[in-house]
Assembly symmetry: C2
Homo-oligomer: 282 residues x 2
């Protein structure tokens, strides 16, 4: 059984029911985070909570008290060693009305955590995976981690229908993100990832890796990446809290580089795993 | 008390709780309709149900049995004379996972209806109302009536903060919609509304009025409308199931025409009300 907490009430996730007036339901008026737990510890929790606070601010949702204790408590309650924590905060509860002008709403907070029985990224990290490209049909505030995720769901499903695992999104001929990941490419030793903007989620692994590469004196550019650069890259890889770093060895049926997992993708994953291991020891 | 039906179970709306795994909650993976009830009858119900079926199809959500009886039953249960019916259909219930590839999900159906104690559009229709313009930050499938409505909520709230009632959305310098309405303009006797595309919801009142104007030999064009045409119009009005047709007498602080409700906006509303009255007699 998975224990969830909704507004601090503890209940089995399978049995949890949410009041229909929680604005998640009528409008997707909520933000969320997914935090990877390694060795019982939520990794990069500060980065996740900072991003959550920023999502709340950008949505003008009232901030909530520090969730750190609730998160640790839930991990402990569910006895998670390897797994993830999910946090969703909606603007509050209200009969259906688009506008929240002059309303003082109390946010609703959901927290739950689930175990991983095998390492979710391990197999794909060793073999690499396939992607399609797809027009980025999402809204213009992808920097906010909201639950308006329909575009992501539709595009992710299309990728799977095409025998791939991820869609790489293209807006105005430029790479933005994967359907639930950030994207890096490598060409002639230069590592590139799309620069932050309102069209890009500031991924915690993305930022971790940019810092890591800089520290280790790789050339890493936060810049624009044209769609054509994808196909011509030596390596392409995607990053997320759960996926860590996974090489994309073919896109739209075209091999990337030699069609094998490349050294920078492997290094990226190793860096994440080592940092997670280190953090768990601290 | 308002009676709701969730998967055909009847319950008070105030007490209704939705299983957290209903994909409305994590992804906004649901579509909806709002149907105006005049004199106990849901107006243009066929248009609404057709659009609902189209939304389901475009989202690859399994279709549901004809809802007509359930809708009539709910209106009757709530003893609605003047009011609205709300219908929301989600893809189904599932532990959180973006992709729905190869999953056979049973849609969840919510229906409720609420009374209007005064005519919701009457006062604004007589005085007209104010609008701001705002960049259309929504996704690229606005033809699907989904509950991914965060952009609409944020923009509608901005309009109200600016002392206006509606935001008119501009994409690539062209008018698309209001924050929860379609837009018409009139200039030198020519009526224009944005042509249907994936950036426009095919409004039931929009279509009704296009047909009405054509039948009555007005010149009505479904075409592109530049932002500048808004300010230079003789009349601007918005339409929706609830708003019917309401004149916008000022946009971004600039008067439209003489800053008063114009004859075509009045005619539009009258046409809707007469058709609703006629339908209620049938």
């Amino acid at each position: 059984m998975v224990f969830a907490s909704y507004n601090q009430e503890i209940i089995s996730l399978d049995e949890l029911k949410i009041p229909v007036f929680d604005r998640s339901f009528f409008f997707g008026d909520a933000v969320y985070e997914v935090i990877r737990v390694y060795q019982k510890k939520p990794f990069l929790i500060a980065s996740h909570l900072n991003r959550l606070a920023n999502s709340l601010k950008e949505m003008s949702i009232e901030n909530v008290p520090d969730l750190r204790n609730d998160i640790y408590q839930n991990i402990s309650l569910n006895d998670i060693s390897e797994g993830m924590v999910y946090i969703q905060i909606s603007r509050g509860s209200l009969p259906r009305s688009h506008s929240f002008h002059n309303l003082s709403l109390k946010p609703n907070v959901l927290i739950y955590s689930t175990p991983f029985f095998s390492h979710p990224a391990e197999k794909e990290a060793s073999t690499g995976t396939y992607a399609i490209t797809h027009e980025d049909i999402r809204w213009h505030r992808c920097d906010i981690k909201s639950v308006n995720l329909l575009a992501n769901c539709l595009v992710q499903t299309k990728a799977q229908q095409a025998g791939a695992k991820e869609a790489i999104l293209i807006r105005n001929n430029q790479v933005t993100e994967g359907s639930s990941s950030n994207v890096f490419i490598v060409k002639n030793g230069v590592i590139k990832t799309p620069a932050l903007s309102s069209f890009i989620l500031p991924g915690t692994r993305r930022q971790f890796l940019v810092n890591f590469f800089k520290t280790h004196e790789y050339i890493v550019l936060e810049t624009t990446i044209k769609k054509s650069e994808l196909y011509e890259a030596d390596e392409v890889f995607i990053t997320s809290s759960i996926k860590e770093a996974i090489a994309i060895v073919a896109i739209d049926g075209h091999n990337i580089g030699h069609g094998q997992v490349g050294p920078i993708a492997l290094l990226a994953r190793q860096a994440i795993l080592e940092a997670a291991d280190q953090a768990a020891q601290d």
